[in-house]
Symmetry: C2
Subunit: 486 residues, 2 copies
């Protein structure tokens, strides 16, 4: 699905390699259209107060102020999140904070933002509590994957829509707040209409996305969103980054670098200048920032990495598409009852985070080896997604924009290990499964091949990759904003 039929909003056609996609440009000027687009929705219930729940509840309430549409937060009894929700103005007194199932039962649009494991355990109870015809809202495809893996389905008669911001909850809130002064600041989102029994599902999804502050909204299917989301976080968004810095830190140390320098050449280079360069000017700009022997080293690193990374992304994609990845997550969830998830922050590297962060100010440079490995892996994911038929908006948002404008800046502010240990449980489990695979591919295949000459065909193919055009078009739809993390 690459077209969007709206009776409320005026969509645009975006030219992408090989064709076009229909998108909706966001902005506060569209807020007056929200009540009409939210056809029949008087009460929105946001279930859960994790980073996404918090960000979406706040953005929706702010965007809908004065419209008469109320936003309530539903939490399980005794949730420790209730205090923060109250501090943010959701209270029992005015009916905007309540028990999960009560809020679900009272809402016309029920947005499911509780943790994946909770969703897997409680979706049936929640479905049974819904008003007839209430719209079910998702922000990623996990529940679809879970229902398919367990032979279930969504309840009939309910619209099922998804609005999937291509960034962390923290970014969704922070960029929305910037949008008050920079019209259009925000995190892009995809929408998917999975069931549309009353014919208004598309407009409701668009309204939800606009109200979250999405600079531009593109269309996908829930299945396609599920696959790109779960694969992406296991590959370039999280898993590959973790494997990359684990491999490169030791590599530079063994080359003779002291711990601080090794940290800066690996982790700092990725989360700092490489991410910023891609965000500002695209992937080839990373290579163009290097010259002479450094550019040749980038080319050799890229050539040595592309195929192993592509093979691994293809493997992850198969596992996700065929359901084995999600069955593994379900098995892991059941083990967590007796075996707590281990932290991954024990590696010696992370003991230097504070010192490295304190040294910032001196310019961190783009290490050519790190850049070659990272850019090759990102391009490998782009190419695999393209080969699997994803629309370009989904490819660039799930492989590049979410990385360089949301996750990597967050990792830069904290560190990679902190990020990996503080994302969703599905993502944390996935990073533990696949991060070490990337590390092994870099250590056993890419880095030992660094001495080989660059492959001119691989570099040529990189420089002429259609993704650069797609990314440039997507970038035009969004103003330059401050993506720093507080």
């Amino acid at each position: 699905m690459t077209t969007i039929d709206s009776t409320v909003f005026t969509t645009e056609t975006m030219t992408v390699p090989g064709g076009s996609e229909t998108i909706l440009r966001g902005g506060r000027d569209l807020f007056p259209l929200l009540p009409a687009a939210f056809h029949g929705i008087q009460r929105i219930g946001v279930l859960g107060w994790g980073p996404q729940g918090r960000a979406q509840a706040l953005n929706l309430r702010d965007s809908l102020a004065g419209t008469g549409i109320t936003v309530s937060v539903g939490l399980r009894a005794g949730s420790t999140s209730a205090d923060d929700a109250r501090a943010n103005g959701f209270t029992e007194e005015d009916g905007t904070l309540g028990e999960l199932l009560s809020v679900a039962a009272a809402s016309d649009l029920v947005i499911l933002l509780i943790a994946d494991a909770a969703l897997a355990a409680q979706h049936e109870t929640i479905f049974q509590a819904l008003k007839p015809g209430a719209t079910i809202g998702l922000s990623h495809g996990f529940l679809l994957g879970h229902l398919q893996a367990t032979g279930q389905d969504f309840p009939p008669g309910h619209p099922v829509i998804a609005v999937c911001p291509k960034g962390m909850g923290d970014s969704v809130r922070r960029l929305y707040q910037q949008g008050a002064t920079v019209n259009g600041a925000g995190i892009n989102a995809s929408i998917a209409v999975h069931a549309d029994p009353d014919g208004h599902a598309t407009d409701r999804a668009l309204a939800w996305s606009v109200a979250l502050g999405s600079p531009y909204t593109f269309a996908t299917t829930l299945s396609s969103e599920y696959r790109s989301d779960i694969v992406g976080e296991r590959a370039i968004l999280l898993g590959a980054v973790h494997g990359l810095v684990e491999a490169l830190y030791r590599y530079f140390r063994l080359e003779g670098a002291d711990p601080i320098t090794a940290y800066e050449r690996s982790t700092e280079a990725v989360t700092g200048p490489i991410a910023r360069t891609i965000s500002a000017a695209g992937l080839p700009a990373v290579r163009a920032a290097l010259s002479g022997a450094d550019q040749d080293l980038f080319d050799r690193a890229y050539s040595a990495t592309y195929q192993p990374a592509r093979d691994l992304v293809a493997e992850i994609y198969d596992e996700v598409a065929e359901g084995t990845e999600l069955r593994s997550v379900i098995l892991a969830e059941s083990r967590l009852a007796t075996r707590p998830m281990t932290a991954i922050a024990g590696s010696e590297m992370w003991s230097h985070s504070a010192e490295v962060h304190a040294r910032r100010g001196a310019t961190t440079t783009i290490d050519p080896v790190t850049a070659g490995l990272f850019v090759a892996t990102m391009t490998a994911q782009v190419d695999e997604f393209a080969a699997r038929g994803h629309v370009w908006s989904e490819i660039v948002n799930e492989s590049i924009i979410e990385a360089v404008d949301s996750l990597l800046p967050y990792m830069h502010a904290r560190d990679v290990a902190y990020m990996v240990d503080n994302c969703s449980r599905t993502a944390r489990l996935g990073t533990r499964r696949w991060g070490p695979r990337f590390q092994a591919a870099y250590e056993q295949l890419a880095l030992p091949a660094l001495a080989n000459p660059a492959d001119p065909k691989a570099i040529e193919s990189f420089l002429h990759n259609p993704v650069h055009e797609a990314l440039a078009v997507a970038a035009e739809l969004r103003p330059s904003v401050d993506i720093s993390v507080t």
Copy 2:
């Protein structure tokens, strides 16, 4: 199943922790009983000439010489293995070498030793070619796992038995040849009777095992064998060893060791003195070989490693028992058509194998860190198998004896990477999936915790682990033999 009801052989009762198991002690003195035990079998067809096929065909032919029972080898048309089979006396002229399906159709016992992927693709065709009532023989549980994963079953009316040597094909042949002078030399085996329509399946399985030269034969189920076999090769037999030496080599290098020393402290220590010590005197002997500060370092390494290793073995076990592991293997097989399996021998460490091997003679010592990590991982697998209800014979053979008496000596002669890239495809794929996970667990959890004091409860529990008694009983059933690799 821990009892064996034989009408031909005299079994023994072996005392194991918490009870007893029925076993059959092997030996050449039992060969005269083979024709009676192989009830109704005149022709044995061994399909495939990989290491197991080759070893089993040769051992069976030698053991059955003069009985009138013939052993034939079946190969697919154009197989490059035909020359070696002919050189070993299996020829088209005397009818002991032929096309796969022809041999299957002419045999009363058809032993399926073609590669897993070939078995997955061709089992239906083979089943259709069988004589009515012919016995189907397996040497590991892969086919059962595949049939379960794809909703199929063995054909009715055929006895289905398994004889599973707890060692590589090369060891099965080599130790059998030693058995000509040392009665009882050989590789232990488990048997499983999966279908017994004519009541003679158990004796046929025992006969097959005795004819292979198994010093002792124990009973299991095909499902239990499948789980311990697939988990074991992903953990302490192959995957964990690979992850261990990848992690430790870099660890010692970063501690300041030169490449040769780092190789010797990691890989050489495991495949040499640690394996030999366990083989000769059991697991606690490794600790006892160290004293003072070295023993304390062993204890700290053991304490830091046991739980992360146990968690990982439990995860692998879940994946294997629930079928996700095998579905992943099937997905990987389908990718291999367009993406050849990458080698894992690229790590810099393996470039030093020849130099390290050439230096042998100077005594390699037991490094306490390497020993602690390895012994903790082996004990973790033992404990997880015990918790999952495996019989002690299966636990000690699949976790310890196969490692120290077959695989590690082979790795010592070649190197670990060579072994990993030259075992069965199912094992190679499994090592690629799980080796990096062990590496990450060692690097991120165990090694950073080395500085912590040893956990006295963990060490106490190790020293009093019932496996030591089980291993000692099993060791008595087998003479000390030369396990070197030519």
